[in-house]
């Protein structure tokens, strides 16, 4: 398979992830969408790394995973915090700050 295939796949996944941020009305799905985006990036890294024949790409994915984990931890903590305030996970419930 050519690198192009992997990159296109990565692009499609990234776009789906990005679209997911808009499609759902659930804070958790929003976070999941961001995870999809990060995974799309990971795929690109690994593909590039494979092409260059180095381990850099793979190693970078570890860091990305770490970051994703950290984000997930903080993000979920915030989701819980929000839920405590309004008993809702709808992002539109949290628009008290505006204009």
């Amino acid at each position: 398979m050519s690198i192009g295939h992997y990159l296109v796949l990565s692009g499609v996944l990234f776009s789906i992830g990005a679209a997911g941020v808009f499609l759902r009305k659930n804070l958790i799905t929003l976070l999941l969408s961001v995870e999809i985006m990060l995974n799309a990036v990971n795929l690109a890294f690994v593909a590039f790394g494979r092409q260059f024949g180095t381990v850099d790409g793979q190693i970078i994915t570890f860091f990305v995973m770490t970051v994703a984990a950290a984000e997930a931890a903080v993000g979920l903590a915030l989701v819980i915090g929000l839920f405590r305030h309004r008993e809702s996970l709808n992002p539109e419930a949290f628009t008290s700050l505006k204009w």
């Binding site: 192009g4 999809i36 795929l43 593909a47 381990v55 793979q58 770490t66 931890a73 903590a77």
Partner: protein
């Protein structure tokens, strides 16, 4: 079409389908499960890219740990359905717009990426044509703890911050 190609399309199809399911499911539990499925697809792709350690880590850490954390939260909060609250309709500016705009933008982005890639020379060759794969865990570890030593250390701070932060944000506070 070789077996590689077949496997690629199977895994790619799984990843994309999983991702699509994530963003179309109303129930977050299903979304999380679909994402795990998608991760398996990705994991397969990593194998195809001769990165078995990444594939394993993807399953163990990503699908196994992070997604469980998500699932745990979903269960904890116990809101299986999206709620269309009254504040949803209170925003005439927003509701249909963001979805449509987001969808359109996503398609645009995909087109742009595809278009850009189609114009890039040298993407047609096979991934594995030029260089042999480096897939040994030993080599991986060596590079990680030499070249990426500092980055590795930085992640420790990152994780401390995340940990302390998550605790500060979520723990019950003695008033």
């Amino acid at each position: 079409m070789g077996s590689d190609a077949l496997l690629f399309y199977i895994f790619a199809g799984a990843a994309v389908l999983g991702a699509l399911l994530v963003v179309t499911q109303k129930n977050p539990v299903y979304s999380v499960l679909a994402l795990i499925a998608s991760f398996f697809g990705l994991s397969g792709l990593y194998v195809l890219l001769e990165a078995p350690f990444v594939a394993v880590v993807q399953i163990i850490i990503y699908a196994g740990a992070i997604m469980v954390l998500f699932l745990f939260t979903v269960m904890l909060l116990n809101v299986p359905r999206e709620d269309a609250a009254e504040w949803d309709r209170a925003h005439p500016l927003y509701r249909p717009m963001a979805v449509r705009i987001g969808g359109a933008l996503a398609i645009l982005l995909a087109l742009e990426l595809g278009w850009a890639l189609s114009r890039t020379a040298g993407l047609g060759g096979g991934v594995a044509d030029e260089h042999p794969a480096v897939s040994s865990v030993a080599e991986l570890g060596r590079v990680l703890f030499t070249d990426y030593m500092f980055a590795f250390e930085v992640t420790s701070i990152l994780i401390i911050v995340a940990m302390v932060g998550a605790v500060v944000l979520a723990k019950k506070r003695e008033e």
